[in-house]
Amino acid sequence: MRKLLPIESFEAIKPRLKEFKLTFYLLNRNRLTMIALITVFLLVLVALLAPFIVPYKEQVFSGVNPQEKLLPPSREHPFGTDELGRDIFSRVIYGTRISLETALAAVGLALLVGVPLGAIAGATGGVVDEIIMRITDIFLSFPPLLLAILIAAFLGPSLTNAMLAIAVAWWPWYTRLIRGQAVSMRERQFVRAARATGTPHFKIVFGHIVPNTIAPVIIQASMDLGGVILTAASLSFLGLGAQPPTPEWGLMISTSRNYFLNAWWYSIFPGLAIFITVLVFNLVGDGLREVLDPRTRKY
């Protein structure tokens, strides 16, 4: 028996659909952002489907193939092979997965800690503000990469610890960003109006102040995704992040240093992967800034 959906359910979807269409239309107006967005989408797709794309799945993590070592790019190995005869193309594809995972987890963790703290600090003021901001000051007084190195060194080098280290180094930036915005929101008329209609404080913080301050944070975060991938690669390059035989881009470049003069393809392709990923994330961040904020939209 066919069950008819109540008409309200369609009505409820309409405004959301309209919103989505508008956002898409605006993004489409900006070619460069659209290209970058499509590339990001492809990167995500590659990361998700990595096991089905790679031609030499068994070579990604282990597998030694000495007779095929350091071969230049060819039809069988589009990006060439490394010092153990592994297919670099397969490893770079798998590296996408690892880099995106690390970046998303690190930025997500930093946002999860940074945004509520910043909003509470800015909206509440007084002693609470003072305490939270002094803590961020302490964290910000370390150079981020050094802090990450310190944490990675303490916890032992691994990809998870590198990710944690990045999150610890990154959250104060979001706290600061949100807090600065939240302070200017506190005395805005609409916040006062919300208070005048009997809205409790925490609802004002998360219902009015956070939505008004989140746009620059989202932009910052999407730009940071690039930066975090770079930092994760740097940590791996220094031997404090991913450990062999993980197919991490930074680690691959690190190993390739020894063979650079004879095998250019070994460092170029992981490097290109980092370059493209960081670039498109930055471009998307820029594009989002224009579109997400109703006040900077260009119709």
């Binding site: 109006a193 005048a196 009997g198 008004n212």
Partner: protein, 324 residues
């Protein structure tokens, strides 16, 4: 004998760079249930501060309440905790703010905002709240409610936004309404429409109103009784008719003269212009610096509100002498 709404010895000060400044000093003022009380005065007289003090919205610091009480239905609002005042805000006492441009949250549609307030204050479900929001739009005479509710504040005109704010203020059937210059920043034709709407709604809902305005003409359209506020003090109090036809305080006179009745009339600005460096003296009448008839007593003694017939009160030493 408790009045419905009563101010008693209310003193609100601001801590500033130049020291503590008194911005509100109200000895005694009461508003009866169902009455529309108007408050007029120039900008900086303390009208908005008064509105904020009632709902505990003052920025503390720099502001602080030195002494006094605001009694609403026999309970002192100033003694209430944040949690208790939250239950009064929007439900028992609501407010229309003066600037329609910045009172709505720019990142939500107007519909979302109205629905949120209805859900929060009346415990309605989303569908009910939506229906009520459409009703409210009809009450404030905004055509095409669904369309307006799906718009962001920046897509609407000032008049439309103020109507939405009025809808919000009346949405939770509060018994006491503070209208803080609701027609400010609107042009004259829209002012008339908005005022008419407020007047109609007040008549229909029988709500008690504290209407704040900067001209007597504006206030006289809505209110029964009016108080003239000058530098945080009530200098004249009475029914609209009494104050408008027989202004007893020279400040009221100046306020009335500031608006020309006919083209020929010259606007007399000599009295109302205020020197910036002039500060409120410790003693004496606060109007003395601008008063053209000042005498020795004005410099020494602070005038009290005196009954001068009917419901008419005035705070001026010289009026007494005139009467003799």
């Amino acid at each position: 004998m408790a009045e419905y709404f009563e101010f008693e010895n209310l003193k609100v000060n601001f801590r500033t760079f130049e020291g503590v400044k008194n911005v509100l000093n109200i000895k005694n003022l009461s508003i009866k249930k169902g009455e529309s009380f108007g408050l007029v005065g120039e900008s900086g007289a303390g009208k908005t501060t008064l509105a904020y003090t009632i709902l505990k919205l003052l920025p503390i610091p720099p502001a602080f309440v030195e002494s006094g009480a605001i009694r609403f239905e026999g309970e002192d609002l100033l003694k209430k905790s944040d949690g208790e005042i939250q239950k009064i805000r929007g439900k028992k006492i609501s407010i229309i703010f003066q600037d329609p441009m910045s009172t709505l949250n720019p990142v939500f549609t107007t519909g979302q905002q109205i629905i949120r307030v209805l859900q929060q204050n009346q415990g309605l479900h989303k569908a009910q709240a939506k229906k009520k929001a459409v009703e409210l739009m009809n009450i404030v005479k905004l055509p095409d409610p669904e369309n307006i509710l799906s718009k962001y504040p920046h897509e609407l005109s000032g008049g439309q936004r103020q109507r939405i704010i009025i809808a919000l203020a009346f949405s939770c059937s509060a018994q006491f309404l503070i209208a803080d210059e609701p027609t400010r920043n609107l042009d004259v034709t829209i002012q008339a429409g908005v005022l008419q709407l407020i007047a109609e709604l007040i008549r229909e809902t029988k709500v008690t109103v504290l209407f704040i305005g900067n001209s007597l003409e504006l206030v006289s359209l809505i209110c029964d009784r009016v108080g003239v506020l000058h530098r945080g003090q009530i200098v004249e109090l009475g029914s609209i008719r009494e104050v408008a036809t027989h202004p007893a305080h020279s400040y009221t006179l100046t306020l009335l003269r500031a608006i020309p009745k006919e083209k020929r009339d010259k606007i007399d600005l000599t009295q109302i212009t205020l020197k910036a460096e002039e500060r409120v003296a410790e003693k004496g009448c606060r109007y003395v610096g601008r008063c053209l008839r000042k005498e020795k007593i004005c410099l020494e003694e602070e005038p009290e509100l005196k009954h001068i017939g009917g419901t008419h009160y005035v705070a001026c030493h010289l009026y007494k002498e005139e009467k003799k």
